[in-house]
Amino acid sequence: MKSHIVRLAASKLLPFTLLLSAIVFYRGHNEPGGGFIGGLMAAAGFVFYALAFDTHEAEKKLRVSPLTLIIAGLSAAFISTLPALFAGNPFFTGEWVSVTLPLIGKIKAGTPLMFDLGVYFTVWGVMLTIIFNLMEE
């Protein structure tokens, strides 16, 4: 699609889409959202970009290949299952710690968050792999 308007829109919208997907991911624990939805949104941003330019441009913009996203995501999800074992709990038990950060204040971080991050990256990578491959056809 060689429309300048669409191209302009795609490249300007991409950061916002990613920001939105990150917000949706983060608030997922207490409000509607989460890793799956966030991952789909992030993928949608890049798909729009790829429609406007082409898949090579989109992959360049992504900096890593979709496969790397998948690897990162699955690894994060798997690794998040392990801390429970070291804590002496059954496999996959959610482990939580409270961290006090400057400016933001006290937040809770836990393995489910990391697991959800894994889902986020996996979904993102999977969608892009499938769609980019089909678009290249």
Binding site: G34, P112, T129, I130
Partner: protein, 771 residues
């Protein structure tokens, strides 16, 4: 026990460091690896005093206690006996292999594998839980597979390896089923608890099937008839492997298991009949084929089969004396056979052949090795003053004390021993005695590292024969006591007095010498007879069966896997809806349909939109239009989710719908113009399937209205999401915490799908560019 666990871990680490050590440390490497084994031997020996007093040690690491699955280590007299055998033989073989394997390529890998085997075998005999045992059992099969196929460039080696693996693993699977049954019967898989529940197990109706399954495992591993044929095939492995795995240790794993379980499952008529008959057939068969071979290593392989048969037979006879005989013969056989296999390798190395017809007078070249060989062969023949004599006397005594099975067993036993005597004499006089004869190159004097192992083993055979009581008290009696607690004394001596057994021994030796004198004449005749008349080969029959099986599976696969997406989809839709309809129909409650509250106008409007979009998608001629209307239907459903409060589902639906729409659009441009793919008939067929599938979804929804899904499960999630999982969004908490394992599975499936799509498309584009 922690110490033993640490040693096991050390052995495992050593195994994986072995390639580095071999490549860096040069000649000292195998001595270094051997010393790890020696250290283990002496470390374990320290426990002998404790086990001789009847103490046991154990430690348990819980794994899945709900399924009786634990990682348990357990040490008693019996496991100590085997553990010492494994580490002691391991040391000899490692030193031997250091020299023997020198010219082989990839010898670093060899040491990794053989140490891995030593680890697995040691862990097997120290396992205190049947599942721990099973895991290491299979690990020994795998390492055996890799070692038999070590010279992987030779097709015979690969075939033999695969055959050995298939047979032992098939047996292993059966054994696992047997273990599960045993666990169901006794309520435990821990060996020390099983030992107490023998009564319960033997009287249970599932005893026989469990026994047969477990015996399948033990018999395949210990090369019993009719599974014996993988063992001669496995002689393709380098000699150290044959000495270690296929004579001294791994093939004894089945015997170990039988000894272990004999207090639990032994003594019944089934046990006695199956074990004595199988053992006796194996014993005779091995003896006959051993007598008619010309390859030194093959002779040893068949005598090993025969010896394994004797062991099974002894356990099957199941009297005090036969159990004693089994344990002692176990030691006897490991000592002489380990030594002889190494000597076979050494001769091969020195003379370039193992053909008995071509060699002779090797004493002149290798005096030390020859002395070791002669002592070992005398032990094999069961002559005094070797320990083999004591073993054989006990075996005779066990058979005599068994009137109910009759004389044929006695005859078979004597016959086998006659053959052993003949083979031993033939080997002693033809191979080592007389004038030096060789084929091809002149035999060279073997290196120290090659003959030291056999020499130590032969020396041990002699020493224990002369002074049996110390070993008997420290190692053998404790091992026997744990098989049969009623035996608390064991006195061994070379001289038993002038009795029936001695007479039989004398007769055996006389007959053996006669058969030896005939050896030169009879052996070629028998070899011809075996090659030409007995055309049935177990190994070939096995291979043919496997080929047939492969052909069958190919047929089956091409029948089920048509390769057409539409047929797969049809199968899925039809099966799902038929099964679901069946269930809905049979559980339908007659009290009407709960349609819920009356829908609002805009809800009805959305529903109408969905329906009309679907109708348009089917009816319209343009592909783009069809896809767009399908998208409209999807968005409509998303709206409904939103209205009913499933916000997460709605968002996911809308996003997925958008991406799928894009996907379709991308693909549509590549498709040819709309042609009429399907005829009238297939359209009707598709319509029927579609209506059937759609109506089952409707049925499912109506059925859901009859039940109370809001009960137990959702209440739990809503109440516990915040306190247990620290999240207010219940949907998300279910996904990433309560049911996270499901999610992990799902994202893995997604990844596999993505890889599949990528691979398919890449494959196609590659083909296209090539064309």
């Amino acid at each position: 026990m922690q110490g033993i666990l640490s040693y096991l871990i050390l052995l495992l680490i050593t195994a994986f460091l072995a390639p580095v050590i071999i490549n860096r440390a040069g000649k000292a490497a195998s001595w270094l690896l051997g010393s790890v084994s020696v250290a283990g031997f002496f470390y374990l020996l320290r426990f002998a005093a404790a086990t001789a007093r009847g103490n046991t040690l154990s430690m348990t690491l819980e794994w899945l206690p709900q399924l009786h699955l634990n990682f348990t280590l357990y040490l008693d007299g019996l496991s100590l006996f085997f553990a010492l055998l494994v580490t002691g033989m391991g040391a000899m073989v490692l030193v031997f292999a250091g020299k023997y394997m020198q010219p082989y390529p990839q010898k670093d890998r060899f040491f990794l594998l053989i140490l891995l085997f030593e680890f697995a075998m040691l862990a097997l005999v120290l396992s205190g839980n049947l599942f721990t045992l099973f895991i290491f059992w299979e690990l020994t099969s795998v390492s055996s597979f890799l070692l038999v196929g070590f010279s992987h460039e030779k097709p015979e080696a690969r075939n033999a390896a695969l055959q050995a693996l298939l047979i032992t693993v098939a047996g292993g699977l059966a054994m696992m089923a047997g273990f599960i049954m045993l666990g169901q019967i006794a309520g435990t898989l821990e060996i020390n608890e099983l030992l107490k529940s023998g009564e319960l197990v033997r009287s249970h109706p599932h005893y026989s099937p469990a026994l047969i399954l477990i015996l399948a495992g033990a018999f395949t591993k210990s090369a019993q008839f009719p599974f014996h044929f993988w063992l001669p095939g496995a002689m393709q492995a380098p000699s150290p492997v044959s000495a270690y795995l296929h004579s001294a240790t791994m093939v004894k794993a089945g015997i170990y298991l039988l000894m272990r379980l004999s207090p639990v499952m032994g003594g019944t008529p089934e046990w006695k009949y199956i074990l004595t008959i199988t053992g006796a057939i194996t014993m005779i068969l091995g003896g006959y084929f051993a007598y008619s071979q010309t390859d030194f290593k093959k002779v040893l392989a068949y005598t090993t089969i025969s010896a394994l048969g004797i062991l099974v037979l002894m356990l099957g006879i199941d009297t005090n004396i036969s159990i004693k005989a089994a344990v002692i013969f176990m030691l006897v056989h490991a000592l002489y056979k380990g030594a002889l296999f190494m000597i076979a390798g050494l001769i091969d190395k020195s003379a370039g052949t193992r053909d008995l017809r071509k060699l002779g007078g090797l004493f002149h070249v290798m005096p030390e090795a020859s002395v070791a060989a002669v002592i070992s062969l005398l032990s094999m023949a069961g002559l005094p003053p070797m320990i083999g004599f004591i073993g054989k006397e006990l075996i005779y005594e066990a058979k005599i004390g068994l009137p109910e099975i009759g004389n044929w067993l006695m005859v078979a036993g004597v016959l086998t021993n006659v053959i052993m005597v003949a083979i031993s004499f033939a080997l002693i006089f033809h191979l080592f005695g007389g004038k030096l004869r060789y084929a091809g190159r002149v035999p060279t004097r073997p290196a120290f590292a090659l003959w030291i192992g056999p020499a130590i083993l032969a020396g041990t055979s002699l020493l224990i024969g002369l002074f049996p009581s110390r070993v008997a008290n420290l190692l053998l009696r404790p091992a026997i006591t744990f098989i049969r607690p009623s035996i608390d004394t064991l006195s061994l001596a070379l001289w038993h007095g002038f009795n029936e057994v001695l007479l039989m021994s004398l007769a055996t030796i006389g007959a053996g010498i006669t058969l030896y004198l005939l050896y030169r004449k009879v052996n070629p005749v028998l070899t011809n007879f075996n090659n030409e008349v007995i055309t049935f080969r177990f190994a070939n029959a096995f291979n043919r069966t496997m080929d047939l099986f492969l052909k069958l599976t190919k047929k089956k696969t091409s029948l089920i896997q048509s390769g057409y997406q539409r047929y797969y989809l049809m199968a899925i839709f039809i099966m799902t809806s038929v099964l679901a309809w069946y269930q809905i129909f049979y559980t339908w409650q007659g009290n009407g349909i709960n349609t819920g509250p009356v829908p609002a106008i805009f809800e009805l409007l959305i529903a109408a939109l969905i329906v009309s979009a679907a109708v348009v998608a089917v009816a319209v001629k343009s592909r783009v239009l069809a896809i767009l209307s399908m998208g409209a239907a999807g968005y409509g459903i998303g709206m409904l989710f939103l209205i009913y409060g499933a916000i997460d589902v709605a968002i996911t639906m809308l996003l997925a719908e958008t991406l799928v729409l894009v996907l379709f659009m991308v693909v549509v441009f590549h498709l040819p113009k709309f042609t009429n793919f399907s005829g009238r008939g297939s359209r009707i067929r598709d319509a029927v399937i579609a209506i059937f599938t759609g109506s089952f979804m409707t049925g499912l929804v109506l059925k859901a209205g009859q039940m109370d899904p809001a009960g137990r499960v959702s209440a739990f999630y809503t109440e516990n999401a915040l306190p247990l999982a620290h999240g207010k969004n219940v949907v998300n908490v279910i996904l990433v915490d309560f049911r996270a394992l499901d999610t992990l599975g799902e994202i893995t499936v997604l990844v596999i799908a993505a890889i599949g799509v990528a691979a398919l498309l890449k494959l196609k584009s590659k083909k296209g560019s090539a064309a």
